[in-house]
């Protein structure tokens, strides 16, 4: 349940690679040596580890099209754990090196294997999930997905790493993940004699009590406009809370409710601060047809809130129709560089017609710049980006009364500069991507009533709840071109 070493690496698309921080845990190494016996492999110095990691990650020698060690099809990397071959012998292997990589940041650690030979399965090692949890915690501490380049934000965070690790992983055994934000100044330690305080609630809130509950639903969609291909969409929701309530072990209950006939929330995951869960809440699953128990709420989540904002729970939901149904037809005209475009978007009647924003983007890949855009839209307005390879159809805050909008016209491509390349979107394989956000709406119908939030504490807090729907990866594929999806249904 411990890790032997930890590395933080930055790179820019495989270039300018450097180990920005590393930490070894000699006491864990001592255990590793004793447990592994003759198959023990010591951890090499950082520069060697870096090179081995880059090779395994496919980032080494970015200029070379083929490197045997890097690109061998035998390296089936199907787990988050890599094997680093320190030397050519069968024993000189570091395993399991866990790696999570996002943007310019690569985080890696080497968990302790508490067994000798033969190598146990990855799934039997608690240190692996511990390591993953620690790495993910460090990743979000270092800026999560927003980390762009070196200067802004990363360096100061990296400078904090020694003292952060002293707290969360002092001797190689991860105790906690670092808090992404500095500890709340409002937090003060509990006085002697009070009930036990959770280790993840470091202090107490002092000040005006308030509870914020935000419910965000995200819809993803793939529409093909082709009867032989199954349209897919899914919806998932997240409830985020920020609870400023007094007490050492305050008790808050948030209840999610569905409208009558709403389809049950599935795959519910709860934050560990939730004290108890009802089995009926966990029963519904997206991966089977359901057992017909049809529990549809209310979903009660009693918990003791941490001081910082946290994700109370998340769920998935199956909704019968996507919120916006679209059709996209792109046709080649007689001239090679002339395309005829026809788009129709229809807002489903159950969806509230009040958007925070709504726009449709039509990118064109593997072509030169657009020269003439002769396209009419029935609503909203059309922009062409500076590079002249993207049409942005701004629909604004509302669909018209008919809830239907269209775009018709022709586009000529005869510019000088080549546009972006996408090996997926060749010829007439093209898509529209929708970006929208609808406040005060969920597709599942799920909601958190302000009055259903119960707080057991002396002062009555101010309770604010809100909900919204947003799109993510909402694609409408051109129905006159081949869409990049296996046809038909997956039936084994």
């Amino acid at each position: 349940m411990s890790i032997r070493a930890l590395w933080i690496i930055t790179h820019e698309k495989g270039e300018h690679v450097s180990v920005r921080f590393s930490r070894r845990f000699p006491t864990v190494e001592y255990r590793a040596k004793s447990l592994a016996g003759s198959s023990y492999q010591a951890v090499p110095e950082d520069s060697a580890v870096l090179q081995l990691l880059l090779t395994e990650l496919g980032l080494a020698d970015p200029g070379k099209p083929y490197v045997a060690q890097r690109d061998d099809c035998l390296n089936q990397q199907r787990t988050p754990a890599l094997e680093l071959h320190v030397d050519s012998s069968a024993k000189g292997i570091l395993w399991p090196v866990l790696v999570i990589s996002r943007g310019p940041l690569i985080l890696a650690c080497l968990p302790l294997v508490e067994a000798g030979e033969p190598r146990p399965p990855l799934s039997s090692l608690l240190s692996v999930s511990q390591g993953l949890t620690l790495l993910e915690g460090l990743q979000s501490f270092l800026g999560g997905s927003e980390i762009k380049t070196d200067g802004d934000g990363l360096a100061p965070r990296l400078a904090l790493m020694p003292s952060v690790l002293q707290q969360v992983c002092p001797l190689g055994t991860p105790l906690d993940v670092p808090q992404a934000r500095a500890p709340s100044t409002a937090g003060v330690p509990a006085a002697a004699g009070s009930p036990r305080q959770p280790a993840w609630r470091t202090g107490q809130h002092r000040g005006r009590p308030a509870v914020n509950v935000a419910l965000t639903e995200t819809v993803r969609c793939m529409q093909y406009g082709d009867p032989s291909k199954q349209d897919l969409w899914d919806v998932y929701g997240t409830v985020t809370c920020k609870c400023d309530v007094e007490g050492v072990l305050p008790n808050v209950t948030v209840t999610l409710t569905l409208p009558p006939n709403g389809s049950p929330l599935q795959d519910i995951l709860a934050h560990p601060c939730v004290t108890s869960l009802d089995s009926s809440i966990l029963n519904a699953s997206s991966v089977d047809d359901g057992d017909g128990s049809a529990f549809s709420g209310p979903y009660k989540f009693p918990f003791c809130p941490p001081l910082e904002p946290f994700k109370l729970c998340s769920y998935t939901s199956q909704v019968p129709v996507p919120p916006i149904l679209g059709s996209y037809q792109l046709k080649q005209q007689q001239e090679v560089n002339h395309l005829r475009v026809s788009v129709n978007l229809k807002l489903h009647e159950s969806v509230k017609n009040t958007f925070e924003y709504c726009e449709a983007r039509l990118p064109f890949f593997n072509r030169v710049q657009m020269s003439i855009v002769d396209v009419k839209v029935s609503s909203g307005h059309l922009d062409v980006n500076k590079e002249k390879n993207l049409l942005v159809w701004v629909l604004g805050q509302k669909f018209p009364k008919s809830r239907e909008v269209t775009m018709e016209g022709g586009i000529r491509f005869s510019g000088q500069l080549p546009g972006p390349v996408d090996p997926l979107c060749t010829d007439l394989t093209a898509y529209i991507k929708l970006y929208f956000k609808v406040p005060d709406l969920t597709l599942s119908g799920c909601s958190v009533d302000q009055h259903s939030v119960q707080v057991y504490s002396c002062a009555k807090p101010k309770i604010v709840t809100c909900r919204e729907l947003q799109s993510k990866e909402y694609f409408i594929w051109n129905s006159t071109g081949p869409a990049p999806v296996s046809s038909g249904y997956y039936t084994a």
Binding site: T79, P170, L175, A270
Partner: protein, 892 residues
């Protein structure tokens, strides 16, 4: 000045941490350690990192470790409590140094004092308002963490203190309950583990363990095994090979049960990471103690099953593996599996977590496993195609996710339909096949390197699972050839796939068929060489070189293609191109080793000769000439051996990209080595004389005065022994007949040496032990015609007798001879006119007696002596004084 020094120290420490070996090359560990310890007095945090991360480099011996610890402890004792962070870091460093230098023992002052200090700090209830009770902001929590690590490294170190630790844990207001619970759980787990290993341990042992409360364990019980033997860290009890030791306690484990319950009750208050560790330790304890039912975990299960944290859910899976149906009913199992499948693709899970869960799925701990128990991948029985449908790969998946899902989906399909030819059964295979084609589409349309690598990995995985489905296997082959035709630069990937498919579990023959098709693609370019780019030509030759390694593939078209390339007129620059020439020769080289070489001999010789004469590059020309010579001068076997050895062969060179540029140099060296006769230092075998008459079997030693020289015998021709060592050790060694033609009738010695080709295909020269030819081995019957009867032979003998022992001297000559040489030694016998007597005394005590009898036209010498060794010398003397040799040509 102080600031500069501080900065320089930060840099020095950073430089040490970056590469300790490089840093220590410019100074010594001793010096650096002394400097570090001196600087500790200033309470600077960074100064501790070198010791914290590389203690064994700085303290190579237990002795240095001990001294360093004493030094650090003195720093600790002088450090005011307000420097909490530094004090914590000191404790952590001390633990690290003690453990890594192997100092933890009752005999070590430092470890005794340190343990005492830690126990004191752990009991310290001093409340500092500034002390923020986060994970590790206080010395007390740090001390607990140090104790936990010491216990983990040296099991049962603290088992005497369980009672004390339990008390601390249950204090009214333990502000460090997480640290104390974690510590207690580890000590308990280790204590139970060691107890369970002891033969005959039972409930009393457990009771004693839980009630252990020594004031200071080290002094109270210095013989404790943990301290004297330094117990090794304990492996996990929950190994894949089943459960570890168990402690028979009977049903009455009230104390233990109550401790476990209270730990579990409060587990909710721990951070997810500590909670998972605690639950895992307790799972191990319950798994080892037969008297505690796993149902004790029941109350926690729902909370754990609903969790969003990877480590907590994983911990539940491990619990399931440990307790199977004693904690999880069949219904629970189905539920857990469904949950796991959902987590494998839950949009809220990170990619790494999804991958991990997918791995857990193929190693799912079933209540009644029937699949692979050896830790291999196996699908849980309950995983229906319907459940797995959510795990199909899509073109938008990241590479690792896609491969993991492709693997699971393939396993599901095979499980459902068996390994038989897919046919129309199930759309699963069709879906996966189409997915592969989508990946191929991306590659065909300029996908980046990652997309290419991913496609080939997916192809390999697909082949591993569905290589037996001929329809798809053949189609994939065709498509790969088409891909290669359009994008020759992908040749290394295609060849790599062929290699792996050949080595791996893919149906045999697929790779060869692919290579055969690739050969077709490559040689078809020979039709219009001018239209083929230099780069593509390079790849074609690379492909053909690989194809030529396959003995089953005919190489006629390859040679034709090579000839076309070698003789192509345009563009002229090609004829100068070293690289192209080298590629071409690489193919030739493989062809030289091809089993079908006989059929290729003439055309290949033509290619080589053409290159040797007309290529623009000297190096290439020379090389072609060399190959030409090899082809025409060496036997097939030797040639194959030479080439197999000379690098670039079947296995050695295939992977190595570095070879490309230096191939010629390396190859020249290799060939030189292969064609040179190497000197063997020791004789590898020896000749044993074999007597057909059965009289002797071993060579007799040569006479001492015999000088072995080639002059004794006429020179022998080389003897060629094909396959000196035959199959099987029992086979008789080959017999060799040597016909010796002596030049002189003396025994002699044959000097032998052997030139042979060993199994490594190198040619060796070895001197063999001398073979002695004894005197008696020289005897031969008189060489007379076989028709001679006994009478004739007798006459021959008589004539010879007379001839041999008669000197042909006249009376006067004899008299002169006697007068000249024997006068002083004559013994006169006047009564006997028929002869003369000569007596020679040869000091110190030998005699030679001669009776010389004149006959009609000859003289007989009768000789007697008491020392036969004198005979040759007498003979020599007689020869020298007479002139018989010239006349008779024989000696006696």
């Amino acid at each position: 000045v102080f600031l500069t020094m501080a900065v320089s120290w930060v840099e020095r420490v950073a430089s040490f941490l970056r590469s300790p070996s490089r840093f220590l090359a410019s100074t010594t560990a001793e010096v650096f350690l002394v400097e570090l310890l001196r600087e500790q007095r200033d309470e600077r945090l960074t100064m501790l990192s070198p010791l914290c991360e590389h203690p064994t480099l700085l303290c190579p011996s237990a002795c240095t470790g001990e001294e360093t610890c004493l030094e650090l402890m003195s720093v600790f004792s002088h450090c005011p409590p307000k420097y909490t962070e530094f004090r914590c870091q000191l404790l952590l460093t001390l633990t690290t140094v003690l453990v890594s230098t192997g100092c933890v023992s009752a005999h070590s002052h430092a470890s005794r004092d340190f343990l005492e200090l830690l126990l004191k700090l752990a009991q310290d209830t001093y409340y500092d308002p500034a002390d923020v009770p986060s994970a590790l902001r206080s010395t007390r929590a740090a001390a607990c963490e140090c104790l936990r690590e010491l216990e983990a490294c040296c099991p049962s170190l603290l088992s005497q203190h369980l009672e004390l630790l339990n008390g601390l844990r249950q204090q009214e207001n333990p502000r460090h309950h997480q640290a104390l619970s974690g510590l207690y759980a580890v000590v308990l787990r280790n204590g139970v583990h060691l107890l369970a290993r002891q033969a005959g341990a039972g409930p009393e042992g457990l009771k004693a363990l839980l009630g252990g409360n020594a004031a200071v364990a080290w002094e109270a019980e210095p013989d404790s095994p943990a301290l004297t033997d330094r117990a090794a860290p304990l492996p996990s009890v929950l190994g894949p090979s089943g459960l570890g030791p168990t402690l028979q306690t009977g049903p009455d484990c009230k104390e233990l049960r109550s401790v476990l319950s209270s730990l579990l009750e409060e587990s909710y208050l721990l951070t997810p990471l500590s909670q998972a560790a605690l639950l895992h330790a307790l799972t191990e304890v319950v798994a080892m103690v037969s008297g505690v039912s796993p149902a004790i975990f029941k109350a926690q299960l729902l909370r754990l099953l609903g969790t969003s944290k990877v480590c907590l859910f994983h911990c539940t899976l491990l619990m399931k593996a440990a307790f199977t149906d004693s904690l999880f009913s069949a219904e629970d199992e189905a539920f857990l599996l469904k949950r796991l499948v959902a987590l494998c693709q839950h949009p809220q899970m990170s990619t790494a977590a999804q991958l991990f869960y997918t791995d857990c799925l193929v190693h799912f701990p079933e209540n009644r496993p029937i699949g692979a128990a050896d830790g291999g991948e196996a699908l849980p029985v309950l995983l229906t195609p319907r459940l797995a449908a959510s795990l199909v790969p899509t073109v938008f998946d990241e590479p690792a996710t896609m491969l993991a899902r492709l693997n699971v989906s393939a396993l599901v399909h095979l499980e459902e339909h068996g390994a038989r030819e897919g046919g129309a059964a199930g759309g699963g295979l069709a879906y996966l096949w189409e997915h592969l084609l989508l990946r191929l589409h991306v590659v065909e349309h300029g996908g980046d390197r990652a997309a290419v690598v991913t496609f080939f990995r997916a192809s390999f995985l697909f082949l591993c699972h569905f290589g037996h489905v001929e329809r798809h296997a053949a189609d994939l082959r065709r498509r790969l050839c088409a891909l290669y035709l359009r994008h020759c630069r992908l040749a290394p990937h295609v060849l790599n796939l062929a290699d792996r498919a050949q080595d791996g579990p893919v149906r045999p023959g697929w790779a060869v068929a692919l290579l055969r098709s690739l050969q077709g693609v490559a040689v078809s370019a020979g039709g219009d060489l001018a239209a083929v780019s230099q780069k593509d030509l390079h790849w074609h030759l690379r492909v053909l070189a690989r194809v030529a390694e396959e003995g089953q593939i005919g190489q006629g078209s390859t040679v034709d293609f090579l000839f076309a390339v070698a003789t192509a007129a345009s563009p002229p620059s090609r004829n100068e191109d070293w690289r192209l020439g080298s590629d071409l020769l690489a193919v030739c080289r493989h062809l030289l080793a091809h089993p079908g070489l006989d059929a290729l001999l003439c055309p290949l010789a033509d290619v080589l000769q053409h290159v040797a004469r007309h290529h623009g590059d000297t190096d290439v020309r020379d090389h072609a000439r060399l190959y030409y010579s090899l082809l025409t001068a060496l036997s097939r076997e030797k040639l194959a051996g030479v080439l197999a050895n000379g690098g670039g062969g079947a296995n050695g060179g295939r992977q190595d990209n570095k070879r490309v540029l230096s191939a010629m140099v390396v190859e020249s060296q290799d060939l030189t080595s292969a064609l040179t006769i190497h000197k063997a230092r020791t004789p590898v075998f020896h000749l044993v004389a074999k007597d057909r008459a059965g009289g002797w079997a071993e060579p007799t030693p040569a006479p001492e005065d015999d000088e072995p020289s080639a002059g004794r015998f006429a020179a022998l021709a080389d003897v060629c022994v094909p396959r000196l060592f035959r199959e099987g050790a029992s086979a008789a060694p080959p017999a060799v007949t040597l016909t010796l033609r002596p030049r002189a009738p003396y025994p002699g010695t044959l000097r032998c040496s052997a030139v042979f080709t060993a199994q490594d295909e190198l040619t060796w020269h070895a001197a063999l032990p001398d073979v002695h030819v004894a005197f008696r081995q020289l005897f031969k019957p008189l060489p007379v015609p076989a028709s001679w009867g006994p009478a004739l032979r007798l006459r021959a003998f008589e004539r010879l007798w007379d001839d041999l022992f008669c000197g042909r001297l006249g009376e006067a000559e004899l008299e002169a001879l006697l007068e000249e040489h024997f006068a002083p030694f004559r013994v006169a016998d006047p009564g006997d006119a028929t002869g003369h007597r000569v007596l020679l005394f040869i000091p110190p005590g030998s005699h030679v007696l001669l009776r010389i009898r004149p006959q009609e036209d000859a003289v007989q010498f009768h000789m007697a002596t008491d020392n036969w060794r004198l005979l040759p010398h007498v003979n020599d003397f007689l020869l020298s004084v007479t002139d018989w040799e010239a006349r008779n040509g024989v000696d006696s």
